[in-house]
C-alpha cells in the first residue's frame, strides 16, 4: 500500500498546471520526471509480487525469473537485447479483448515467438531506422524490432516465449563439405556446428533448413604454410 501511495502522491504533484501543460522550467520538468519514474518503478513491486505468486509452483519460479518492465519508448530493452531466450508477460488493463502489436527491440537474427498454448505465432523482424543525419540517438545495442500481434483477454495476463533460433544462418551444405575436405572428419565439424551455432542434428535437417546457396561460412584459420 505504501508504494502505491507514493505513486498517488506523485500523481498529485502532477496536477499542477505547469506539469499538465509543460510550462515549467526545464530543471523542474526533470524533477517531475524523477518523481514519476521513481514512483512508477516502485509500484511495479506489486505487479512482480503478483506474478511471482502465480508462478511459485511452476518452472518460472522467482529464483529463476525476474519481471522487468520495459517501456520500449526508445527501442531499448537490456533483457531482450542481451538474451537469446526471454519471456514477455503482457497485462491488458482494459476490460475487453485487445489485439495489440508488440515491438520488442532485439539484435539481428531469426526469432520464434510462442503463444501461451505453445503454438508458434507469426512474427516479423524489422530494422530500426538509422537516426536522421548524425544526431545523437538512443543508447541501445538493438538493431531490429521483433513484431507480433498479441491477442489479450480482458484484464488478462499472457506470457509469450521468444527464442533466437540461430546465430549464423548464412551457410550451405557445400561449405560444410568443403570444410570436411580440409579437416577429414565431418563429425568434429558437426559437433562444433551443433555446439556453437544451430540446433541441427543430421544432414537431412541441414538440407531442410538451408536449401539456398548463400554466403560461405568463414573457414577457421589454419597454418598458412600448408598448401590447401
Amino acid at each position: 500500500r505504501f508504494v502505491l501511495n507514493e505513486l498517488k502522491s506523485a500523481m498529485g504533484v502532477m496536477q499542477h498546471h505547469d506539469a499538465i501543460t509543460g510550462t515549467e522550467k526545464e530543471h523542474v520538468a526533470h524533477d517531475y520526471e524523477r518523481l514519476l519514474d521513481a514512483a512508477i518503478e516502485d509500484s511495479l513491486i506489486i505487479a512482480r509480487q503478483a506474478f511471482n505468486k502465480i508462478a511459485q509452483n511452476s518452472p518460472l519460479k522467482p529464483a529463476l525469473f525476474s519481471y522487468d518492465r520495459c517501456r520500449f519508448n526508445e527501442s531499448s530493452c537490456p533483457t531482450s537485447e542481451a538474451s537469446e531466450k526471454f519471456v514477455l508477460t503482457i497485462y491488458n488493463p482494459v476490460g475487453w479483448n485487445v489485439m495489440e502489436p508488440i515491438h520488442v527491440p532485439v539484435l539481428e537474427g531469426q526469432y520464434e515467438v510462442y503463444a501461451p498454448n505453445g503454438d508458434k505465432i507469426t512474427s516479423q523482424l524489422i530494422d530500426i531506422p538509422a537516426p536522421v543525419r548524425n544526431i545523437p540517438t538512443r543508447k541501445s545495442n538493438a538493431t531490429h524490432e521483433l513484431v507480433f500481434i498479441a491477442k489479450l483477454h480482458p484484464l488478462g495476463v499472457k506470457q509469450f516465449y521468444v527464442k533466437k533460433i540461430t546465430k549464423i544462418t548464412k551457410i550451405t551444405k557445400r561449405d560444410v563439405m568443403k570444410t570436411n575436405d580440409y579437416y577429414g572428419n565431418i563429425n568434429d565439424y558437426w559437433k562444433n556446428l551443433h555446439d556453437n551455432f544451430v540446433e541441427i542434428h543430421n544432414l537431412d535437417d541441414f538440407d531442410k533448413t538451408f536449401k539456398s546457396e548463400q554466403i560461405p561460412l568463414p573457414i577457421p584459420k589454419t597454418d598458412s604454410k600448408v598448401d590447401m
Binding site: Y67, C70, V94, M99, P101, S123, I135, A150
Partner: protein, 344 residues
C-alpha cells in the same frame, strides 16, 4: 528549400516534395558532378551532406514509383510524394501526411503585438506553415506489418504503418532536435490532408470530458474577431480529434495530449514539438529551449488514424480503441536463458 536556384523550384507556391528532389538529382547527374559540387553558390542552402545526398544515385527514386500498404481492412497508396489515398472496400479518401513547421514570433513583450512565442503562447510569424521536404527511405512488407518510411532534413522522420488484422493506420514519428542555428524558434506540426468536406468544423475531446464541436474562427457564445488567426483556432486534444462529412469520419487518436486544429478544409493538424528561443514573459522566465544532451529534445510518438463511416454507428468501437490507446498493455520482459521452451 528557400534559396535553391533552379527553375523548377522558382515557383514558391508549390511545395517541394520528393518528386522535385528527383528532378534536382537528374539535373545534378547530367552536369559534371565535380563542377556542380564546387559551385556551391548555386545551392546556397545545401550543406555538404545534402550535396552528397543529391549526387548519390542510390537515393534516386524511380519516377514510376507506386506502392500499396494493405491489409484486410484498407489499402494505402504511396508514391514519390508519400501517401496519396486510403482505399476502403466501400470508398476512397484522399490522404496526405505532411509535416510542417511554424516559426515563432520574436518581440519585446511590451504589448500584445510585440509578444514572443514561448512556453505559454503559441504565436506563429506567418499564416501558412513551412512544409518539410521528405525523402523516402524504404518500404517494408511482411506477415505482420507493412510500412513506408520517409524523413525530412529538418530532423523529422515518419513511419506509416498498416498491421494485419487491425483496422487503423499508424503514423509513428521521431521529431527533433529542432534545428535553431538560424536563431529562429520553430514549432513542428503534422497535417493529415484529406478530401473530407467538413465546412470548417472539427471535433476535439475537451480534456477527456466529451467531444465538442469546434468551428473555424467562431465561438458559439459570442461574435469573434481573432487577432491570432492560427493560435486562436488551436484547441486541446487529449486523445482524439476528428472531422467528418456525410460518409467519412477521419479521427486521429493521439498517444498524449497535444494541440490540434483544422485550419484548412479537410485537414487535421496536430502539434508535435516546440523549440523557442525567447521567453514570452508570462512567468516561466526562460525560453522553451530544452537542451537535453546539448542538442535539444527528440520526441517520439504515435498517431492512429481511423477512417469510419459515420452512418455505421461505430462509436463504441472507436471509444474502445481510444481507451486502449491510452491504457496500453504493460509489458514485462524476463530473461529465460535457464528456461527452455519445453519447460516453459
Amino acid at each position: 528549400n528557400k534559396d535553391i536556384n533552379i527553375d523548377i523550384l522558382k515557383d514558391r507556391t508549390d511545395n517541394i516534395y520528393v518528386g522535385d528532389l528527383e528532378k534536382i538529382m537528374k539535373e545534378v547527374r547530367t552536369e559534371n558532378r565535380r563542377e556542380r559540387k564546387a559551385e556551391k553558390i548555386s545551392y546556397p542552402s545545401l550543406n555538404e551532406e545534402e550535396m552528397r545526398m543529391l549526387a548519390d544515385e542510390s537515393m534516386v527514386v524511380e519516377r514510376s514509383y507506386e506502392d500499396y500498404l494493405e491489409n484486410e481492412y484498407m489499402k494505402i497508396r504511396v508514391d514519390n510524394t508519400g501517401v496519396t489515398h486510403m482505399i476502403l472496400p466501400d470508398r476512397t479518401t484522399n490522404l496526405k501526411v505532411q509535416m510542417y513547421y511554424w516559426t515563432g514570433c520574436y518581440g519585446n513583450n511590451t504589448d500584445t503585438t510585440f509578444r514572443s512565442s514561448g512556453a505559454y503562447i503559441f504565436r506563429p510569424q506567418t499564416t501558412q506553415p513551412y512544409p518539410m521536404t521528405y525523402r523516402i527511405t524504404g518500404t517494408i512488407k511482411g506477415p505482420v506489418l507493412q510500412e513506408f518510411r520517409a524523413e525530412a532534413k529538418e530532423n523529422a522522420a515518419s513511419v506509416l504503418r498498416v498491421y494485419n488484422g487491425l483496422n487503423y493506420f499508424v503514423h509513428d514519428f521521431v521529431v527533433g532536435p529542432i534545428p535553431v542555428e538560424d536563431k529562429v524558434g520553430k514549432e513542428y506540426v503534422v497535417r493529415y490532408e484529406t478530401n473530407v468536406v467538413n465546412n470548417g468544423e472539427f471535433y476535439t475531446d475537451s480534456n477527456g470530458r466529451q467531444m465538442l464541436k469546434r468551428k473555424l474562427n467562431e465561438r458559439p457564445q459570442w461574435n469573434l474577431t481573432l487577432e491570432e488567426p492560427v493560435a486562436g483556432n488551436y484547441y486541446p486534444v487529449t486523445n482524439k480529434i476528428s472531422i467528418e462529412d456525410n460518409n467519412t469520419r477521419i479521427s486521429i487518436l493521439t498517444d498524449r495530449s497535444e494541440g490540434g486544429t483544422s485550419l484548412e478544409e479537410g485537414d487535421l493538424e496536430l502539434m508535435l514539438h516546440r523549440r523557442l528561443l525567447h521567453d514570452d514573459a508570462f512567468g516561466v522566465g526562460e525560453a522553451l529551449n530544452e537542451t537535453a544532451g546539448g542538442v535539444g529534445l527528440v520526441m517520439r510518438g504515435t498517431h492512429k488514424l481511423l477512417n469510419l463511416d459515420p452512418r455505421n454507428q461505430q462509436e463504441v468501437e472507436e471509444k474502445k480503441l481510444l481507451l486502449q490507446t491510452h491504457l496500453k498493455p504493460i509489458v514485462f520482459v524476463s530473461d529465460a536463458e535457464n528456461v527452455d521452451y519445453e519447460t516453459w
